[in-house]
């Protein structure tokens, strides 16, 4: 033990100390979100404000789940929508991007250069710039008031395709050729060899997609008019904007924020290790 201590040089001690401090600092908002959601109303407005909750209560959650059910659309409906949308989107994005990534990384076909070029170019667009074309496509397809309006914009994710392409590109060609000689069809190669090896990239894409789709308000604001088909992110946003001057709404907001945030945290903790691997392998940071 003592030996180990002595081996650390001064610079690495400083580095560790510095990084620890930084990590603790980054932790503050998370601690704050957790505590805030359980504060009774009077504690929320204490001055000076406190981060830690004194007398935890679940009254905020009760209000969120039950009190709002008197409204047109209950909170649980938004939650349900968000979960359904997230699950379908993640599934579809993984399917599309892994297949596209495999094809681009390992198969020979015409126009490959052009397709890759398009993907690189689309990586450069900010999301806002494509809202209008998206709206035109969605209304053109007549899927305005369906879940597909939420799903479609995420489906063709250049980042996901790019990650998959980079990751699958690392799989040695020999493996794929060996499988071909073993009698595997393209589908079998994809399912039995490529996908298991690409699991870390799949996890990464699952997280990225989840974060995007869970927090997305664009679809609910622009493409979906039916209140019953909007998602939780939209609901929280309306709560926030509606509650700015509203003392009673603060509790709801705090609880809703925590519910918004929690799945992100859980998913990240579960997949964290794999994500690191992907980032290292694909050279994407």
């Amino acid at each position: 033990m003592r030996r180990r201590m002595r081996r650390l040089s001064l610079s690495s001690v400083l580095l560790i100390a510095g990084l620890t401090g930084l990590a603790l600092f980054m932790l503050i908002p998370i601690v704050y979100i957790f505590n805030h959601a359980f504060k009774p109303l009077d504690e929320m407005f204490l001055f000076p404000p406190r981060i830690l909750v004194q007398e935890p209560t679940i009254v905020n959650f009760e209000k969120l789940f039950f009190a709002t059910s008197g409204d047109v659309v209950p909170f649980t409906r938004y939650l349900f929508n968000s979960i359904i949308i997230a699950v379908i989107t993640i599934f579809c994005v993984i399917t599309v991007s892994s297949m596209a990534g495999y094809a681009i990384a390992k198969l020979r076909f015409g126009l490959k250069g052009l397709i890759m070029g398009l993907i690189y170019i689309s990586l450069m667009f900010a999301a806002e710039t494509v809202s209008i074309p998206r709206y035109l496509i969605i209304s053109g397809l007549g899927i305005n008031d369906t879940y597909f309006a939420h799903i479609l914009p995420f489906l063709a994710s250049p980042v996901a395709v790019f990650l998959m392409m980079a990751f699958i590109g690392q799989i040695p060609n020999d493996l794929i050729e060996a499988a071909k000689l073993d009698g595997a069809s393209e589908v079998a190669i994809f399912n039995r060899i490529v996908m298991p090896l690409a699991a870390p990239a799949v996890a990464t894409i699952a997280i990225l997609t989840f974060q995007g789709v869970w927090g997305d308000v664009e679809a609910s604001t622009l493409y979906v008019q039916d209140e019953a088909l909007k998602n939780i992110a939209y609901y929280v946003q309306t709560l926030v904007s509606g509650a700015q001057n509203n003392v009673a709404g603060q509790g709801l907001m705090a609880a809703a924020s925590l519910l918004m945030f929690l799945p992100n945290l859980i998913i990240f903790l579960v997949f964290q290790k794999r994500v690191m691997q992907t980032m290292l392998h694909s050279g994407v940071k």
């Binding site: 020999d174 009698g183 060899i193």
Partner: protein, 377 residues
């Protein structure tokens, strides 16, 4: 059944105007162990991959057995291949690795089990079946890769430098095992290597390639004794054949090899082939293997020899033999002597060249003037 027939096969890679393989024309009979050997980039892998179906054939016809297979997909060619870096599926256990080929071919489950276990037994990897490839040593991975190839009992095995990732000792051992396996299974094998020792020790026939072109096809001993050109002569054999540039002159019906330092009368038997090939004077390269140069005094009594003097520059002890690097003026030749010869670096010695064992090559074209009876294809 397991024969292989390559008829005038060419390979042009996209964007390259020089072919990677040029007019590869060869019949491999059933049960043969054919070794493709040549320096890096000469097109060995390309040829093997065309046989496997992993690379399209630009020109020419390929038959496996009696079947024309140019456009048959790899999985339907009834071949299996061992890759240089093993290419084991990292996510599957050793058992699954070996079994996958059978499973994908819808072999019944009990039969898969039977075959995998039998294969594992042959290769002595039965105790490793549950492990993942990452838990194996290089030699063990190599066996699993072999197992995956033989379990399907294909018509032809293809191996692309399967031993090059192993250390020297393991390589020799595995080499022997592959030979043993081949004598048991008698499956037609095409084996690629850039190592001439492997080629000499393993092949029933050797194909030497250079820049995409076949130089010579012959059994190992003939390849060694009668190389058809300078390239083959210097590629096959270790240490390399000694090459001495000079000229051949004809005087009064006799032929002489001549450099600034030596003038040797060539034995009469070269006369015929030289007569056909030479005019009066011709620039040549004389090739002679280290074992056909002697430092002892007995040699000139037994064989027709050409003598010259030289200085020992360096001595290489190999245990069983000793190699002397002797400077004879215009070049340095390697002389093979018995171990324990009483020489030291710096010694002046007289060495004898066995003129009945020399090779003469055209200095410009590189073709052999002395082994002309040998088929180059």
């Amino acid at each position: 059944m397991g024969s292989l027939s390559c008829r005038h096969i060419f390979k042009y890679y996209k964007g390259e105007h020089r072919p990677a393989v040029k007019d590869f024309n060869l019949e491999v009979s059933e049960g043969e162990f054919l070794v493709l050997v040549g320096p890096s980039g000469c097109g060995k892998s390309t040829m093997l991959r065309m046989i496997a179906g992993l690379e399209p054939i630009s020109e020419g016809d390929l038959y496996i057995g009696d079947r024309y297979v140019n456009f048959v997909s790899p999985k339907n060619r009834d071949i299996s291949m061992v890759f240089q870096n093993y290419a084991l599926y990292p996510n599957l256990s050793v058992y699954e690795n070996i079994a996958l080929g059978l499973k994908l071919r819808k072999v019944a489950k009990h039969e898969v089990e039977l075959k995998v276990n039998r294969t594992a037994k042959i290769l002595e990897i039965s105790h490793l079946l549950d492990r993942l490839p990452s838990q194996l040593s290089g030699g063990q991975k190599q066996r699993v890769a072999l197992g995956r190839a033989i379990v399907r009992e294909p018509q032809v095995f293809l191996m692309d430098e399967p031993l090059s990732n192993l250390d020297a000792k393991l390589r020799a051992q595995t080499r022997a095992e592959i030979m043993k396996l081949h004598s048991q299974l008698k499956t037609t094998t095409v084996y690629v290597t850039h190592d001439q020792t492997e080629a000499m020790t393993m092949g029933t026939r050797i194909v030497v390639m250079k820049d995409g072109e076949v130089q010579q096809v012959a059994p190992p001993q003939i390849m060694y004794d009668q190389p058809c050109n300078l390239f083959v002569a210097s590629f096959i054999g270790s240490p390399q054949m000694n090459l001495i540039p000079g000229s051949v002159n004809r005087r009064e019906g006799k032929y002489y090899f001549e450099t600034k330092r030596v003038l040797w009368e060539l034995p009469q038997r070269y006369g015929d082939s030289l007569k056909a090939a030479t005019s009066n004077l011709r620039q040549v390269v004389l090739g002679i293997r280290p074992e056909h140069i002697g430092a002892d005094r007995e040699m000139p009594k037994k064989y027709p020899c050409g003598m010259t003097a030289g200085t020992i520059e360096m001595i290489e002890l190999m245990g069983s033999d000793t190699f002397l690097f002797v400077n004879i003026g215009e070049s340095t030749v390697i002389v093979r002597t018995e171990a324990g010869s009483p020489f030291a670096a710096g010694d002046q010695i007289e060495i004898a060249f066995r003129l009945d064992r020399i090779h003469l090559f055209d200095a410009e074209q590189g073709g052999s003037l002395t082994s002309q009876g040998v088929t180059s294809l």
